[in-house]
């Protein structure tokens, strides 16, 4: 039987990052990935000759080269990757579109403030004070208390419409809670989206995944694909190793898992008191268009759209909710490396409803998603005739099939473990359920959990 210093469950962003850190300092590490592709929640696939990305629409946390102390520069340094590795391009600009107000924003916070000034002039002072609080808050302290963010933000923002518009992108790009988020999480998301901002890797998520993979190979981290973990073995409340789905036993005194908090604990045989399964899941429609969005009258990178008087970020009652959506035009970043136009439309969905569908109903329901996506897109692509070259739609059950997340919950459980610890010694959670989100957040999570549990002790 093989013995390692550490076993990593899942070759998601955090799993690959943790493997690099541990192997860099001569730890014997193996990564076990159930799927045949790397990346986990942020991955890619091919249909026909087209490359498709799944997961977050954009990278957050843009930082120019040599900006000290920012998440992006920090993670590149910790992984010893030159700044140029991720081939980062900034967004052109994004929008929050609500029934009575539209706010534009880009990676310069003063521009966002000027937009707030136009739409909500009496809120600017409060917004500046909120900004001051956010800039001075240590959101990554492992011992922060959980605080509902809306309660805190209401001290500064007294207009509910503006409050909902500020929360909308932050919630839908990373909250496992419905309608609110933990204040530390809010600060992380606010900084990553409004202060640092959106960007995209030329070549999409593949560029990031392949550079992490190359680094893993260079430092000697082992990787086994198509190897799911069936059981986490422990003795006297300390991890011993894993049993794979191929019935192979692998031992290590440290197991770092990026397959989710409830999902990981379930593997230990624990049946009771599992962390809750997240409620938030989504459908996504990806359309390839003959023309570029900019030629069809749209130059925004991402549009956060809501058609209700009050924004609802909660599990939808029906299969999906087309009263709100996120639209992403991947061409609209500083470098456009696509031959075709691309539009992605995300709806909040209901996993339980999708799970019940028979094959035929499922296919029909995906057609409905497509039609509703096209209808919303037409409103935002004024010169588009509704024709497309290629489409794909995925649902909450697709997410579970490829990522092993319970309930198709892309933002994981509402119960996070900030220091990564679990009831079993040596078993550590990283990634989404450690509380850092998005691609940049997950990579940082893997780094910090590897440092904290694998290198410092």
């Amino acid at each position: 039987m093989e013995k390692y210093d550490a076993i990593i469950i899942g070759a998601g962003m955090s799993g690959m990052a943790a493997a690099i850190r541990l192997a860099m300092f001569d730890k014997k590490v193996i990564v076990l990935e159930r799927h045949y592709e790397l990346g986990g929640l942020n991955s890619f696939y091919k249909r026909g000759k087209r490359n498709l990305d799944v997961g977050l629409h954009a990278l957050t946390n843009f930082a120019p080269k040599k900006t000290p102390g920012k998440p992006l520069t920090k993670l590149l340094k910790q992984l010893r990757l030159p700044y140029e590795t991720f081939k980062i391009n900034e967004q052109k600009g994004s929008q929050i579109v609500f029934p009575d107000h539209t706010l534009n924003f880009n990676n310069e916070i003063e521009f966002f403030i000027s937009e707030i000034e136009k739409e909500f002039p009496d809120q600017v002072e409060g917004f500046r004070q909120l900004l001051h609080k956010i800039e001075n808050y240590n959101e990554t302290a492992l011992d922060n208390e959980y605080l509902p963010a809306k309660e805190v933000v209401r001290h500064f923002i007294t207009n509910e419409s503006l409050l909902e518009m500020i929360f909308c992108p932050l919630l839908i790009y990373g909250s496992a809670w419905e309608n609110d988020m933990d204040f530390s999480q809010f600060v992380i998301m606010f900084k990553s989206i409004f202060l640092e901002g959106f960007c995209r890797s030329e070549g999409g998520v593949r560029t990031i995944i392949s550079s992490l993979k190359e680094r893993m190979d260079a430092v000697g981290a082992e990787l086994q694909m198509k190897t799911g973990v069936k059981e986490i073995i422990s003795k006297d409340n300390h991890v011993v190793g894993v049993l794979t789905e191929k019935d192979e036993e692998i031992h290590a005194p440290l197991i770092l898992s990026c397959t989710g908090f409830p999902e990981t604990l379930k593997l230990t045989g624990l049946e009771e008191k599992l962390p809750r399964t997240g409620a938030m899941s989504f459908t996504e429609t990806i359309l390839f268009l003959k023309e570029k969005p900019v030629d069809l009258g749209q130059d925004s990178s991402i549009i956060f759209y809501n058609n209700r008087p009050h924004y609802q970020y909660q599990k939808s009652e029906s299969y999906y909710d087309h009263e709100s959506a996120v639209l992403c035009f991947s061409n609209n970043f500083n470098t456009d490396d696509y031959d075709e136009g691309i539009a992605r439309v995300t709806f909040i969905a209901n996993y339980d409803q999708w799970k019940k569908l028979e094959r035929k109903e499922y296919v029909a329901k995906k057609k409905d998603v497509l039609q509703d996506s096209i209808a919303i897109l037409k409103n935002h692509l004024p010169k588009w005739d509704g024709q497309f070259e290629f489409k794909d739609v995925f649902s909450p059950t697709t997410i579970t099939r490829y990522t092993s997340r319970f309930g198709g919950a892309v933002y994981g459980s509402p119960d996070k473990t900030r220091d990564g610890r679990t009831p079993i010694d040596g078993l550590v959670i990283m990634g989404t359920d450690q509380g850092f989100l998005g691609i940049i957040g997950s990579i940082l999570s893997g780094i910090s959990m590897a440092n904290y549990h694998g290198l410092q002790s």
């Binding site: 300092f25 040599k66 520069t73 920090k74 590149l76 340094k77 910790q78 010893r80 030159p82 700044y83």
Partner: protein
């Protein structure tokens, strides 16, 4: 090993840890943290690299000795020659 060689060994490590920093104008008497983008996580990397490459252990209470290039060289030269 003389001090110039020790300085080079330390510089090699810093060059790898702070990949995007320019080290050509480094002032040996000024704290590294003030000249380069290095935080506590990066200093830990320097300590781990010293152990990995040169089998030199730096106990936690001695971390302040690594503040500037000059103090690194002063502190590490005897250790390189042990």
């Amino acid at each position: 090993m003389d001090t110039a060689e020790v300085r080079q060994k330390v510089l090699d490590i810093i060059a790898d840890v702070a990949l995007d920093d320019d080290l050509s104008d480094l002032d040996d008497s000024v704290a590294l943290r003030e000249q380069l983008d290095l935080d506590s996580m990066d200093f830990l990397d320097i300590v781990m690299e010293l152990k990995k490459r040169h089998k030199i252990e730096v106990p936690q209470e001695d971390y302040p000795q690594l503040a500037s290039m000059q103090s690194c060289v002063d502190y590490l030269t005897p250790k390189f020659n042990q």
